[in-house]
Each structure stands twice: as structure tokens, then as C-alpha cells.
Amino acid sequence: MLRSRLLLLGPLLLFLAATYLVPFLGVMQWSVTLPEPGLGQYRAALTDPLVRAVIWRTLRICALVTVISVAAAYVITLLWVRGGPVMRVVVELCILIPFWISVLTRAFGWLALLSNKGILNSWAQSAGMLTEPLTMVRNEFGVVVGMVHFLIPFAVFPLASALRTVDERVLMAARGMGASRARIFWQVFVPMTLPGILGAALLVFVFALGFFVTPALLGGGRSVMVAELIYLRIFQSPDWGLGAAISVILMIGVGGLLAAMMKLKGGMK
């Protein structure tokens, strides 16, 4: 019994302990020893105006992105789950194809659409709607668009399982008692899917916090978020201690959010 336990469970756990847990302790060690021993880097991370501005911007963008992604995902999931048979297949393709395409290709697609020489600006200028190109990437707008695009499919999957479990008879009962379609939707359907909405929102928010590639490409270094700040502190203006300290803070924050999510799920059962 013990032998088979070691044989089956042991390899992966040992592998991850060696490649992940121990190095994580190493990163924690960086955060309290570089450049000098002490908690100075944590103090810096929480008081330095630049770092605080980045953290504040990250929280703001992630909150905005979460609201937009979940709302958009809700609408499209509604059609995926409750639409006609043909509609379901079409919607499924619209969700799955972008989901499987790499984040780099998707970011490039937005650059091709939104940049100054991109498709939208070229069209608007040749149609005479714009004289100067409108700057839509290398700023916060581009970051939000790119992140929403990346995160919608991740919100769709938890929402779909919530929307599928809605008991049809409750809707029929509301209908039978003369409720209008809008009233059934807002006062019966949406409240019944609220746990799914909260779950999807938390998931998207957690995902968004650690986001790196899309903000780096579409933000063009101008609206730096936490993940990119860590990259910059490690590779461009080296301050490994600060980068490590911010990583540890991010890990703790995400851990706290996930624990809250578990508790929320447990409380609802």
C-alpha cells in the first residue's frame, strides 16, 4: 500500500517540489536578502509611489476588464446554451477558435486592427471620417481590448455550466404567472445564475492579475501592470529583490482570492 502510494503519487510531487516549491523559497529568499537583508523591499513595494501606481492601475484595469468580459461572456453563453441547434454550433465555433489561438497571434490581430497604420485607421481615413489616425494601441484602451478578448472564453466555460443548471420549470412558472420576458430574465434567470457569475468574475480577475503578454504588447510600455513590472525589475533595470518581493505579494493576493472562491463555493453547497 505504502509502496504503491510512493510509486504513483511520489514522482509528480517530488518533481514539483524540486522544480517549483524549493525555487519558490529561493525567490522568497531573494526578496529578503537582495540587495541587503531585511524587509526593505516589501516596504519599498508598498510605499514607493511608482510601484503603488502600478498596483493601483493593475487593480483598476483588472476590475474593468472583469466586468466587461463577464457581461460579454454572459450574452454569448446565453445563446450558446439556450439558442437553437444551428445557433449553438455557430456560437461554439466563435468561442472555441479564438480560445485555441495563441495569445501572441491575438495580440498581433489587435495591433493590425487598431494601430495607427492599421485597418480601422486606414478605412476611417480613406472614408474621410478621420484626418489624423486615432491612437488605440500602446495605451490603456488597447490593453483593455486585448485582455477582454483573451478572457471572454475563460468566463464562458463556468457561466455555461451555471446557465445549464437553471430549472426550466421555474421560468415556465414565472411565465404562467404573467411575467414579461424582460422580467423573467432580470428577476428570475439572472439571480439563479448569480453564483456562476461571481465564480466567473473571480476566475477572470485572478487570471487578469498575473497577465503579462497582452499588456506588454498592446500597452507598449506606457501602461505597465504588475506582471510587466516584475519582468522589468528582473531583466531591464535589475532590482531582483524588488521583483521577487512583488511576486511574493502577488502570490499571496491570488492565494487569498482563491481561498475566498473556495469558501464561497463551499458556503453555497
Binding site: 510531487l13 486592427l113 421560468l171
Partner: protein
């Protein structure tokens, strides 16, 4: 059974979301045919020069080949370790299953940038002892990818095990089958599609991986995503559009084929 179909407003909104999801993928197509060397929309003259670049410049083929090698090694390692672990949880039902699972899924739930820093620490530490599995080597990248994708293998194999009838295993056991026989002759053949899915999906995840790869490579181990990143970061190279079109075409073909196959299967039944 479902009688309340989404109304016109919901359908319109969902169509807008679908357009939003597909737009950047479609936008890549015209840009890839531009005759210029910078990102622009072709007006009169369309050209294949960027597709020719993909074939002519050896670094693209080298990137593709490197990504395939890394993906194969990483997904074999991850699927093997992940399958053993999932089998251990399913067969032995250990007491702290939740805790063990949490540990095994850590690289999946931690913010990608934290994992990237952790694996960077790990690989530069290894670099002090050898130069084969080290920072900026293909074996090092494969090892780091294996860490990142192993949790997905655990999840996928566990999902197929959950659908397997436990009595099959109990029958084998009561007839005196040892652990190895139960695993290799009874359980694994029953979940072979789950194993294939896990292998394929973890390969795709490694093939697309960029967040961690950026931290652990510089000039030698240039995977395809890393090469694309370099073409996107500073001056946008339209060759990225050409490679993106190729990648989108592959994904779209696979997903459309799978959907068509499923529809045909559904009609047969």
C-alpha cells in the same frame, strides 16, 4: 423542452460579441499580404513576400522544430507524471487528497509571472552545475514547460478516470490482479482517449507557451512564440502576420473538422 429562446436584443448583442471575438483573427489576413516591410493594409498590390520569408529565413523553421521538440518532451514527461498521480488519487483515495491535489495544481493556479520567476530562479541555479539542462537551453525550456503543463495532465486524466466504472478495477483486483496489471491491462486501456487528449492538449500548451519562455530564454533557445514575440515587440514585422495566418488556418481546420465529425456522429445515432 426549452421554450424561452433568447430574444432579438440578446441575439444582436451576442452577434456583436462574436464579431469582436473573430475580428482580430480575420484582420490578420489582409495584413499578411502587404507588399511593404512594415505593418500596413495592402491597397492595390498584394504580395506573398512575407510567406516567402517564412520559408526562406532559416530561423522560422528552426523555431518550429525547436517548439516541436520541446513540446514532445515536455508533454511526454508531464502526461506520464500526471497520469501516475491521477491514478494514485483515484485508486488509493489517500487521506489528504485535497491537499495533494492543491500541491500538484500549483503551477496552474499561480500567476504565470510568478511561475516564470520561480522557474527562472530554478534554471539559473541549475546553470551553475551543468550546461545541458540550464537557462536558455532546449532541455531547460522543456523541463520548465513540463512543470507548467503537468497540472493540466492531472486534471484531464482525472476527468476521464471519474467517468470510468470503479467496479471494472474492483473485478480485476478481486481476481488477483496486481497493481501493474490493474493499471496497464485494465485502467489505462479504458481511458486511452483521455490519455491521448491529455498528451495533445499539453503539447499545444507547450507549443504556445510564451510567459515562462520569455524569462528562461535569451538568444539560443528561440522557440516559435519567442521568435514571434521578438517580431512584435519593437518594429512590427509583417512576417508575423503570415505565420499567424498559418497558425489560425491550422486551428480553424482542426476545430471545424472536429465539429463536422461530431455533427455526423450525432446524426448517425
Amino acid at each position: 423542452m426549452i421554450q424561452l429562446r433568447p430574444g432579438l436584443l440578446a441575439t444582436t448583442l451576442a452577434a456583436l460579441v462574436a464579431v469582436f471575438l473573430l475580428m482580430p483573427l480575420i484582420a490578420v489576413i489582409p495584413v499578411s499580404f502587404t507588399p511593404t516591410r512594415y505593418l500596413s493594409v495592402p491597397d492595390a498590390e498584394w504580395s506573398f513576400r512575407h510567406y516567402e520569408t517564412l520559408l526562406a529565413k532559416p530561423e522560422w523553421a528552426a523555431g518550429v522544430w525547436l517548439s516541436i521538440r520541446i513540446g514532445l518532451l515536455a508533454s511526454v514527461v508531464a502526461t506520464t507524471l500526471g497520469t501516475a498521480f491521477a491514478l494514485g488519487i483515484w485508486m488509493l483515495q489517500p487521506r489528504f487528497a485535497g491537499l495533494l491535489l492543491g500541491l500538484a495544481l500549483l503551477p496552474m493556479v499561480a500567476p504565470p509571472v510568478v511561475s516564470a520567476l520561480v522557474l527562472y530562479f530554478f534554471l539559473i541555479t541549475l546553470s551553475q552545475f551543468n550546461n545541458f539542462v540550464a537557462y536558455d537551453t532546449w532541455a531547460g525550456v522543456a523541463l520548465a514547460h513540463a512543470v507548467m503543463i503537468a497540472p493540466f495532465a492531472v486534471v484531464l486524466v482525472s476527468v476521464s478516470l471519474a467517468q470510468l466504472d470503479r467496479r471494472v478495477d474492483l473485478a480485476a483486483r478481486s481476481m488477483g490482479a496486481g497493481l501493474a496489471t490493474r493499471i496497464f491491462r485494465v485502467i489505462l486501456p479504458n481511458i486511452r482517449f483521455g490519455l491521448l487528449t491529455a498528451f495533445f492538449l499539453t503539447f499545444v500548451l507547450s507549443w504556445e507557451e510564451i510567459g515562462v519562455t520569455l524569462f528562461i530564454t535569451s538568444v539560443d533557445a528561440v522557440t516559435l512564440p519567442r521568435l514571434m514575440w521578438m517580431g512584435l515587440r519593437d518594429n512590427i514585422d509583417p512576417a508575423i502576420a503570415a505565420i499567424s495566418v498559418v497558425l489560425i488556418a491550422i486551428v480553424a481546420t482542426v476545430i471545424l473538422g472536429k465539429t463536422a465529425w461530431q455533427l455526423r456522429q450525432g446524426r448517425k445515432e
